[in-house]
């Protein structure tokens, strides 16, 4: 019996495996103790709690034109469940920052809550999108778009109970 068909099948299987690996999205769930840097399309496959350092974001984009998809799960920070703050606001302690990456997307459904900064900070980015999220009880704004960002689309989100009592710190839903 010839071994040639078996060898061909093995090569085909290896090729398919490599192709599958190349296009698979990253998957995240559980407790994060360091900022998760998004370098390719990334899916939440469970709820995420963020126990990162003060003034540190939970997720940060490290590549352009990639997505973070919450898939109905939550991203929860260190803020108080009632006030969102637990003391002072920490401007850098956001749920997700776009980090100067353009064409990035944060896509719901899913909830971003209890961050002592913003839920989502869009900074230094062009054509970023934030859509389909619930942004609740964050100590600054649900979504904040900085002056360094252009042509952002914020669509179909629900922003509730975000804000800061710090004088002069203009905050709110979006």
């Amino acid at each position: 019996m010839s071994t040639r068909p078996i060898a061909a099948l093995a090569v085909l299987a290896a090729t398919l495996s490599l192709a599958s690996t190349a296009f698979a999205a990253d998957r995240v769930s559980g407790n994060l103790t360091r900022t998760y840097v998004i370098v390719e399309d990334t899916d939440l496959i469970g709820d995420v709690t963020c126990d990162v350092g003060n003034n540190t974001p939970c997720f940060s984009f490290g590549a352009a034109n990639v997505e973070l998809r919450l898939n109905g799960f939550s991203i929860t920070g260190r803020g108080d469940a009632v006030t969102g703050c637990g003391g002072a606001a920490f401007a850098g302690e956001a749920g997700v920052i776009t980090n100067n990456m353009s064409g990035v997307v944060v896509r719901g459904p899913g909830i971003v809550q209890r961050f002592r900064g913003d839920g989502i900070t869009v900074g230094g980015s062009t054509h970023a999108r934030v859509e389909g999220l619930t942004l609740s009880t964050n100590c600054m704004s649900g979504v904040r778009v900085l002056a360094t960002s252009f042509e952002t689309i914020i669509e179909n989100n629900i922003a509730v109970r975000n804000g800061s009592s710090n004088p002069g710190l203009l905050c709110g839903g979006i």
Binding site: V122, V143, V145, A147, T152, I154, A159, N162, G163, I174
Partner: protein
């Protein structure tokens, strides 16, 4: 938001902001935000509904429902705070308002909440 040429549409912003100080909002155009379109949003029960800062220019506020800002409990507890459905502090004529529904405002029209003229 302080960004430029952005689109904020079909969002619901409710119950955002502290009443002390009364400078928070449901949707805010702050700093020198410019060229943004805020449309078809529902904005209720926030400290201020839509807040447009003095440096914001050339933005469009279109067909939003902006009512119940602030909630009556906040207005009752802090009657001295000036919070409204739409607060426009931008220079006159530098913000375009089209067909919004609101009840209280500063330097912004609320025509859709008034009785239809016969």
């Amino acid at each position: 938001m302080i960004g430029h040429n952005s689109r904020v549409r079909l969002n619901a912003a409710q119950g955002n902001g502290y009443s002390e100080p009364a400078d928070d909002f449901g949707i805010g155009l702050i700093g020198r935000a410019s060229g943004n379109v805020i449309d078809h949003n529902s904005v209720s029960g926030n400290t201020n509904g839509i807040y447009i800062a003095s440096g914001a220019v050339d933005n469009v506020i279109r067909e939003n429902v902006v009512v119940g800002n602030p909630a009556i409990q906040s207005a009752h507890t802090r009657p001295d705070s000036r919070a409204l459905d739409i607060v426009n502090l931008a220079p006159a004529g530098r913000t375009q308002f089209e067909r919004n529904v609101c009840v209280t405002s500063l330097n912004a029209p609320c025509p859709a909440a008034t009785p239809r003229q016969q």
